[in-house]
Symmetry: C2
Subunit: 207 residues, 2 copies
């Protein structure tokens, strides 16, 4: 029997971690070597245990999963991380893959599929459900916003006018307007209210 796959679980829901530890711990292929309920702790535990695969939630208090993943991959580019989260927002999926996740599955995955995904990841493969792939490609036409545009959208969300946005960013009102125009086009929105809605729908904006 080969050595078990050593796992680090990172999720801020204790009951969820218990579930993961349970369904995976019963399988001799896996060994849960550590658990964390926030990103900071996760970084420390990763260093100490060097797990084969890390299961990482995205929405966590404090440092979120994306930042945690970024930090892990920065220190250890070979780290293999599987995102296990409830969000299916395009922006989360896109960012996670961009920052180096080896796979992304949502929490409504069945236990057997989760186990299979981990094995695939450990074997050097990548995992992305057909549904998420489809969502990503169908929204490919909607190119993602630049950081400046996200900045503007964040202010629009707070109810600032183009003029105010210009002053806040140290640019002219006319420029804020130009960004707004690009945002509307990229998000396929007819006005700023719809743009904010699309922001939440895609995960660019978070509650």
């Amino acid at each position: 029997m080969p050595a078990p796959i050593r796992l680090l679980l990172v999720d801020d829901h204790p009951v969820m971690r218990a579930g993961m530890a349970n369904v995976l711990g019963l399988d001799p292929d896996f060994e849960v070597v550590a658990q964390a309920d926030d990103g900071e702790t996760a970084l420390g535990l990763w260093d100490r245990h060097r797990p084969d695969v890390t299961l990482l939630d995205i929405s966590m208090g404090g440092m979120d999963g994306i930042d945690t993943l970024r930090r892990i991959r920065q220190d250890h580019p070979s780290a293999r991380v599987l995102i296990l989260t409830s969000s299916d927002a395009n922006e989360d999926v896109r960012l996670a893959l961009k920052v180096g996740a080896c796979g992304y599955v949502t929490k409504n995955v069945r236990a057997s599929e989760l186990a299979e995904a981990i094995r695939t990841i450990h074997a050097g493969g990548r995992i992305l459900s057909e549904e998420l792939k489809r969502k990503l490609t169908e929204d490919e036409g909607a190119r993602h916003l630049t950081s400046r545009e996200i900045e503007v959208l964040g202010l629009v969300r707070q109810g600032f006018t183009n003029d105010e946005i210009g002053r806040l960013l140290g640019i002219s009102e006319r420029t804020a307007r130009a960004h707004m125009g690009t945002i509307l086009e990229k998000l396929n929105a007819s006005d700023r209210a719809a743009a904010v809605a699309r922001g939440f729908e895609t995960g660019i904006l978070k509650a």
Copy 2:
């Protein structure tokens, strides 16, 4: 030893259900008599098993938790239901309590606290964390929207103008505008973009 508290688990995350079954099943005070991953199934299982306490998630595919709760309480007003969900949106909490939930805890609750909450519920008590209470009361000033206003906000979210909203609802543009004014005031928003954002933040609007 008294008879164990008979539980029905409803959550569309299999791993989460495994976690609940695990942390609760080890305690002789509890017995998990059934599990469901959607509202329809939950209704049938409730009828068949008559659990003492139901643990119910809000965000589920198909019929959501609020509707499920409504249906359960409608048929069996004495049913005791504890909401166990990841959302801490005011609107979810408010609606759940209004529709008859006996308690509301978020998924980052510790296992021991969850067990204690279930015991309290079973004993006829109610559970609402101090944090959620605080959030609810601090937003009390922001009265909740009427169904008509929510309808309007839903159209605003899609980018419709007041004029279009009027036509879609069979009312005058001026009336749509009046609703808009009330929405802005109630949500404390300065324009429709901010109103949409507040809608997502409070849980009135969902991605």
